[in-house]
Assembly symmetry: C2
Homo-oligomer: 287 residues x 2
């Protein structure tokens, strides 16, 4: 049976470091603050927001929630972003995405001021991930994968990491982070022929294709570490599930992140750590 | 025997399109101009510069050559870049790299004004390659690989592309371009254990590790297309060679770019096409 790589202890260790940073900032009169900008009421937005708020609270990071109606116009959305950009008390901006159609995701993403881009969505942050320069902030989920591997001492250098999914939120950035850590990296996606032939070769498999329970016994090989990035709500049971069919994977894989209880908590912990970092940088810049 | 994928016809087709653009610009009184900034006298810099100048000339693109001594200071280098940034008659800047130590490659790269970054070295261009937004210019060698595959009608979508090398000049950007074209992409590098096990799986193998004649019979499998990005001067024969041992590869691979006579010509043709594009954009912006 696979070892379950729970997210909670990873998140707790990271949160402890963040809380210490936040406490130090508060002593200097700076309250690290995250603004969460949400359009509409998508269930997974709400779930992610709740998790982030809880984690912020536990770390001494303040949250300002800004909610726009689902039918908001582009101008109003851009004005909301600009106002958060200008607000010196806000250190990080989390824009919950994807935005409902017909809003322009691209324009909204790029409008966030780079130093407040704690979710790693702007070109500056993404270029930093691509070039390995360390500028900006890595997308939180991608960094969460690395934090989890690191916490559980799972070797990456010289290993074969297979990433299923090529999104800018997780697939491409996590591929770059894994490569920077020395892994040989294969990125699979919707156009990949014979997906199991690739995924079975992985030492570390990252599943991020957004299809509930898709990865079954035929995709997974003995000895693998499987990091499940998927978050879905099973319409039959109402329960949260990942991209991996846990019943099929657990007897085969060596280690596996459960869903729920896996990467989600780490992702929000990374987000909050970015807010504290952004506040530190802003405070240093003001001195 | 492998079909030899010669670069000349690919470059010629691209140059023809560029020459037409340049002629149209000249009729409007704009002479598309590339500035080549070189520090010192490295043989491969000189070779690349010669190729670029010849190609520019053939396409009706002017070249301004700026040469700094090998022991130039950082300040003087940055001033040279800034002067080219400010010069309205210069549409593209090619900074030959790597710069000799102790010059700061990173600072020099980022100093180039994005709209003149015809070699695809700034964060803006690299972010465009990473996100697929099409902003900026792709690194020329990476785009040359795609132009060559396209010219010879070699299918990429759904195929397995293996890239050996993870540099920002070629490995990482070509991986992104291949992925955007629908390939499943594996990136191998110096930390990869058992390189032949990966390279033999490729439908399209791109070799860019900078080791002369490294890829031999054990790396190459029947049916493959091998794109050799390496450029080396054999100290024994004085001849140009690639990363691939052609004698070993030719009987096995289905198709192979020769060195010399392969990708090099396409790379300079891409560079010149970028200069014409940059001049077009600059002219459009002025109107």
């Amino acid at each position: 049976m696979a070892e379950l790589l729970k997210g909670a202890p990873v998140a707790a260790a990271l949160a402890e470091r963040t809380a210490a940073k936040a406490a130090a900032l508060r002593e200097k009169g700076v309250t690290p603050t995250l603004a969460i900008l949400r359009v509409g009421e998508r269930p997974d937005d709400l779930s992610y927001e709740r998790g982030a708020m809880k984690r912020c609270d536990a770390c001494g990071v303040a949250v300002r929630s800004v909610v726009l109606p689902g039918d908001v116009g582009q101008d109003e959305l851009m004005a909301a972003i600009e106002s958060l950009n200008e607000d010196g008390a806000v250190h990080g901006i989390l824009l919950l995405r994807p935005l409902p159609a017909p809003l322009d995701n691209e324009a909204a993403r790029q409008a966030i001021r780079p130093e407040k881009d704690v979710d790693g969505v702007t070109d500056g942050s993404l270029a930093g991930v691509f070039t390995g320069s360390g500028a900006g902030f890595a997308p939180c989920t991608a960094q969460a994968v690395m934090e989890l591997l690191d916490f559980y001492h799972i070797p990456v250098a010289g290993k074969h990491a297979v990433v299923a999914g090529r999104s800018l939120v997780i697939g491409r950035p996590v591929a770059m982070l894994l490569m920077a850590a020395g892994a040989t990296v294969t990125v699979c996606h919707s156009k990949t022929a014979d997906l199991p032939a690739y995924t079975r070769q992985a030492d570390v498999l990252v599943t991020a294709i957004g299809r509930m329970g898709y990865f079954g016994a035929e995709h997974i090989a003995p000895g693998q570490t499987v990091i499940d990035v998927g978050i879905h709500f099973d319409p039959d049971t109402g329960k949260m599930r990942g991209d991996v069919d846990m019943t099929a994977a657990e007897p085969v894989a060596a280690a596996l992140t459960p869903v729920p209880g896996g990467l989600g908590a780490v992702t929000t912990a990374v987000l909050v750590s970015h807010v504290a970092e952004a506040a530190e940088k802003a405070a240093a810049g003001r001195n």
